[in-house]
């Protein structure tokens, strides 16, 4: 027998309680990992080199206010700008409100240059560009509704008083959010009576170095106009968009804290019970020569092992599960995926380790403080 073997025997003596405690820690760590991963997905959308060059120009007042289409030529002429694309959120309904997916009217010929990381068959790009009521759809939405190239779909406008009738001509994969549907802004303008309204402009800068000046130049150009602009990087725009849901970081952080605190109480309670049951044995161990620190080490190792087992199951369980689940469907489009990053795994396991240490501090201190004689008195 070895000391680790002795610790293992102690840990396994009440298998039902051990299983329930490990499962409760695992479930809590699973929730913690899920929360942190969701927060990560919401606040740190995937970025690419192309995305780093993209700027979003929107109405300074709010996202709900539009910009005039006459801004486009002025934007195109600005030094450092390589591409300009109109993009307007359509927000229509496909058959039923539950079938939500993002829909945008865009300049068809600018879609590929601006979102260059999206993979699409060149023939399909041409088909999309050359047909006014064509649309280009992300693979996830295609799969969700079982669509195929050539299918006709109708979107019922909710924000805009029109119902675009579209033909699917392209399917893009990878790169950007694979749930979007893009159709011609020209078609949208036509349906809206050519009012010249644009939700926002997406701009590609020639290189990262020009971006700071470009942002200032765009906003100063349209300052004191009928529609002042706010220009920001794609990443800043996305974070700002998410912040409209409220302070998600504080909310998720609070829930995570409650989860961790509850875990500490559950594990501390288990360790207290386990140690109290063994107070006579701890007294015997002291009598035969184990000192206070050695007893503390035995208890700490057991508590640590229990918490670590729960942590490994919870954190890696979440990682494995989310690799195999269709998060997009399950979250009704709110989340594209739940990618448990190494840093989140490390955070979860750190929480588990701290949990193992903190939860045994009080019970082990109590057991160390109890004299051998007092411990032995409990025997007889």
């Amino acid at each position: 027998m070895t000391i680790p073997g002795f610790i293992l025997r102690n840990a396994l003596r009440n298998k039902r309680r051990l299983s329930l405690t490990v499962l409760s820690v695992a479930l809590s760590l699973f929730l913690f990992t899920t929360m942190q991963t969701a927060l990560h997905e919401l606040t740190q959308p995937p970025t690419s080199e192309d995305a780093a060059l993209r700027l979003v120009v929107r109405n300074k007042v709010s996202l709900g206010n539009v910009l005039p289409s006459k801004y486009r030529p002025r934007l195109e002429r600005m030094p450092g700008v390589s591409h300009v694309m109109k993009l307007t959120w359509f927000g229509g309904i496909y058959k039923d409100k539950a079938n939500f997916f993002p829909q945008f009217a865009v300049d068809a010929d600018q879609l590929s240059p601006v979102f260059s990381e999206a993979e699409i068959d060149p023939k399909q790009i041409n088909d999309f560009i050359n047909e006014k009521n064509a649309c280009d759809v992300g693979i996830k939405t295609m799969q969700r509704f079982g669509w195929k190239i050539g299918d006709r779909i109708t979107l019922q406008g909710t924000i805009w008083p029109c119902n675009p009738e579209l033909i699917i001509r392209g399917v893009y994969r990878k790169g950007i959010d694979m749930t979007n549907l893009f159709f011609h802004h020209e078609y949208f303008d036509e349906l809206m009576g050519n009012q010249g309204l644009v939700g926002m402009y997406w701009i590609c800068a020639e290189n990262a170095g020009v971006i700071p000046d470009l942002v200032k130049r765009i906003d100063s150009t349209f300052a004191n106009s009928e529609s002042e602009t706010k220009t920001e990087t794609e990443r800043a725009f996305q974070l700002g968009f998410i912040s409209m849901f409220g302070n998600i970081k504080v909310l998720i952080g609070s829930i995570s804290t409650v989860i961790v605190f509850t875990m500490i109480l559950v594990t501390a309670s288990t360790m207290s019970m386990a140690i109290r049951e063994r107070s006579r044995e701890i007294a015997i161990l002291k009598a035969i020569g184990f000192d206070g620190w050695q007893i503390f080490g035995l208890i700490l190792a057991e508590s640590f092992g229990l918490a670590a087992a729960g942590g490994l199951i919870g954190c890696f369980g979440a990682d494995i599960l989310y690799r195999h689940l269709d998060i997009y469907s399950l979250s009704h489009g709110v989340l594209l995926k739940l990618d448990v990053t190494p840093s989140i795994l490390a955070a979860g396991l750190t929480v588990a380790v701290l949990l193992g240490i903190i939860s045994c501090l009080v019970p082990s201190y109590m057991s160390i403080q109890t004299s051998v004689v007092d411990g032995l008195k409990e025997l007889d």
Binding site: R13, I284, G289, G292
Partner: protein, 232 residues
């Protein structure tokens, strides 16, 4: 006569329960020599277990001193005291106190985990101790698979395995039937006579005390028959 292995001088121990002070041992002076088998007898509350605990380094005297092989046990720090107990004291308790999840072999091996012995050396010591108490064939049994008498013999093997200076037994037959009690006491006597072990037995049973070479009577914390072994 050789130097006493245990020297107790003017030892006083009192406990405080709230505002009440209880004197457990009142000015005890006592010598115990090597290879002696001493019985501490007395009624409940006479202080015999307290005296045993002080000799074994489980408790500290209020005043006075307790020297075991010249070491003043009461002056050792908690950590040194734990190490000292591991090296010098073998405990036998009334309720056996084996670890229920460990086999007889592992229970006996437990005190050796704190030593620097190799696995092979530990195994040799454990098998020798189990053979000494006649339980070589029960080494893989868990405590619940043993009779009370067998459990106490495993506890004796655990007390002996480190080859301690003193074996202290606190009412070791209190939870045993007459036959098993006889077996255990005979074994302690055999260990004293054949292996030369110094044994201190706490009991309130005169039949058990009869196995010892010397009986020390305590009452209300004081020695009452003057059989202290002190050399004049």
């Amino acid at each position: 006569m050789p130097e006493p292995i245990v020297q107790i001088r003017e030892l006083i121990k009192f406990y405080r329960h709230g505002e009440i002070e209880v004197t457990a041992l009142d000015n005890i002076s006592l010598d115990i020599h090597a290879n002696e088998f001493v019985a501490l007898m007395g009624p409940s509350g006479s202080g015999k277990s307290t005296l045993l605990h002080i000799i074994a380094g489980l408790d500290r005297p209020t005043t006075g001193e307790c020297l075991v092989r010249g070491v003043n046990v009461g002056n050792l720090s908690e950590t040194k005291l734990a190490d000292w107990r591991n090296n010098h004291i073998g405990f036998i308790f009334q309720t056996f106190n084996l670890i229920p999840v460990l086999t007889a072999f592992e229970n006996v091996e437990l005190p050796l985990l704190l030593t620097k012995l190799s696995t092979r050396e530990r195994r040799e010591h454990v098998l020798a101790a189990l053979a000494l108490v006649g339980l070589s064939d029960r080494s893989r049994h868990l405590p619940r698979q043993l009779s009370g008498g067998q459990e106490q013999r495993v506890a004796i093997a655990r007390a002996l395995v480190t080859d301690p200076t003193l074996v202290v037994a606190d009412e070791p037959t209190g939870n045993l039937d007459a036959h098993s009690a006889q077996e255990v006491l005979t074994m302690l006597q055999m260990l004293n006579r054949q292996a030369g072990k110094t044994i201190i037995l706490v009991t309130h049973d005169p039949k058990a005390a009869a196995f010892a070479q010397r009986t020390i009577h305590l009452e209300k914390g004081q020695l009452i028959n003057g059989n202290s072994g002190l050399q004049s």
